[in-house]
Amino acid sequence: MAATTPKLVVEGASRAFDGAPALAPTTLAVAAGEFVSLVGPSGCGKSTLFNVVSGLLEPDAGRVLLDGADVTGRPGAVGYMLQKDLLAPWRTVLGNIVLGAALTRGVTAADRAEAAALAERHGLGGYLDHYPHALSGGMRQRVALLRTLATGRDLLLLDEPFGALDAQTRLGMQRWLLEVRDQTGSTVLFITHDVDEAIFLSDRILVMGPRPGAIVDELAVDLPRPRTLAMATDPTAVEAKRRILATLHGEAAA
């Protein structure tokens, strides 16, 4: 990792709102193709960090580097997805997948063909003409992720994307996300407060302390891929969970 430029570097980024610090100076790096999760208590500044990385929020100090280039405060460089699917109700599944193109330069026939192929590859081929309201919550989140992928950005920021789904659907979505990532090789920065989810998905986990957030622990998840459900009880996973929970609760008690 030392030899190559990391996909993403956050250098001492901090942010306060009306004088109240929300994000303490934070530094992190994500290698190309890596899946990194951020876990932390609610209100710890995860989403502030997320907005800084996505360029929507200018940090008070620090920089955001993407492939070594400074993108601080410049939106449009990374893919982005939230807990809410935020699909445009007036656009079909296909129309939502090509939203990125519509917002930047206008949709071409090639964009549509590519989006249709993408949907076909990831199990949404039969729903291109559906309006979002006709889809289930899980399906809508799939469309939202494909919309993010279709922008062609290879760093995906996912902010609790499955937080609103029921446990069963969420499990299906987590496996689907890993499948998609295996095929696309995207780099993922994933925010969640679900420790099990972070362990199941990630190569590495960053643990944030309570507000103003800062990264207080970091651990690699040394489980082979593809991941299986059985790995949840693997000693590595159990030890990771124990350590994360201890960190979170130790911080919360302090």
């Binding site: 809410k84 003409d129 289930s136 659907t169």
Partner: protein, 274 residues
């Protein structure tokens, strides 16, 4: 005709029939004399008998309604968009907007006729005056209600201010726009008739009614009123039809596909309920 279409058509027709029935019953039960009020059949008969005159007059009222409606809708929409873009514009325009509706329309009609003449223009202005307000308020509201997270997402995807407006905000106003248009549609005919009444020339539906009134021809008075009502209802139905065409995502689960063949798939997707 499918079951649901039959329901959608037959039940409103039944409600019209009930109104006419109650009207007929009142005339019959209270023994109302024809010079006081006609039965529905007499009123309808009066329209049929004078159709050669009433037909063209109704078309004229319809034209005033449509032109004024379109002008008011465009004005209301443009005002709402301008107001949504700048706080200064909004604070500047809003009092005028509200003030315009505080002016009794019947009082402003006479000065407008003096100002604009006896032609179609004052009628169009009056209808537009009535219609632009609900449209402006609904669209402004719709623009303000666009999900802030969706706008943030659009910016994060690299959308410029103009693109975000065109791709996200503008389509989001279609629903609210039609809410405003539907309110406007019911009042539009009233505006046209007020204009006709104030101009008080012959050659208009309101003029015809006034003449019939002075000769105590109640069947013609009620008949022409029915005609005005029919124009209003017809226009309202047309707006609803346009709404269904313009907002297919509200009533359909898939996009309408032009051309031959069945839609791709109409099954409900698996997984949890929508």
């Amino acid at each position: 005709m499918s079951r649901s279409t039959a329901r959608a058509v037959l039940i409103p027709l039944a409600s019209v029939a009930i109104v006419f029935l109650v009207w007929a019953l009142i005339i019959r039960l209270f023994d109302v004399q024809p010079f006081v009020a006609p039965s529905p059949l007499e009123a309808l008969e009066a329209v049929r008998a004078d159709w050669s005159i009433l037909g063209p007059l109704a078309l004229k009222t319809l034209a005033e309604t449509v032109y004024g409606f379109v002008a008011g809708a465009v004005l209301g929409f443009v005002l709402a968009v301008l107001m949504s873009q700048s706080r200064t514009v909004r604070d500047l325009v809003y009092p005028v907007l509200v003030g315009s509706q505080a002016v009794p329309i019947i009082a402003i009609a006479a000065p407008l006729v003096i100002l604009l003449g006896f032609g179609i223009l004052p009628k169009i202005v009056i209808v537009a005056w009535i219609v632009f307000f609900p449209v402006a308020v609904s669209v402004l509201d719709g623009l303000a209600r666009v999900d802030g997270d969706l706008l943030a997402l659009a910016r994060a995807l690299g959308g410029s201010r103009w693109r975000v407006f065109r791709v996200i905000r503008l389509p989001a106003t279609v629903g609210p726009l039609f809410s405003g248009l539907k309110i406007g549609a019911t009042y539009a005919v009233t505006g046209a008739v007020i204009g006709e009444l104030v101009a008080s020339t012959g050659g208009s539906l309101a003029g015809y009614q006034r003449q019939a009134n002075s000769s105590l021809d109640t069947a013609a008075v009620w008949g022409s009123t029915l005609l005005m009502t029919a124009i209003g209802i017809g226009w309202f139905l047309l707006v609803i039809g346009l709404e269904r065409l313009a907002t297919p995502w509200r009533t359909r689960s898939t996009r309408r596909r032009l051309g031959f063949g069945a839609p791709r798939r109409t099954t409900t997707p698996p997984g949890d309920a929508p």
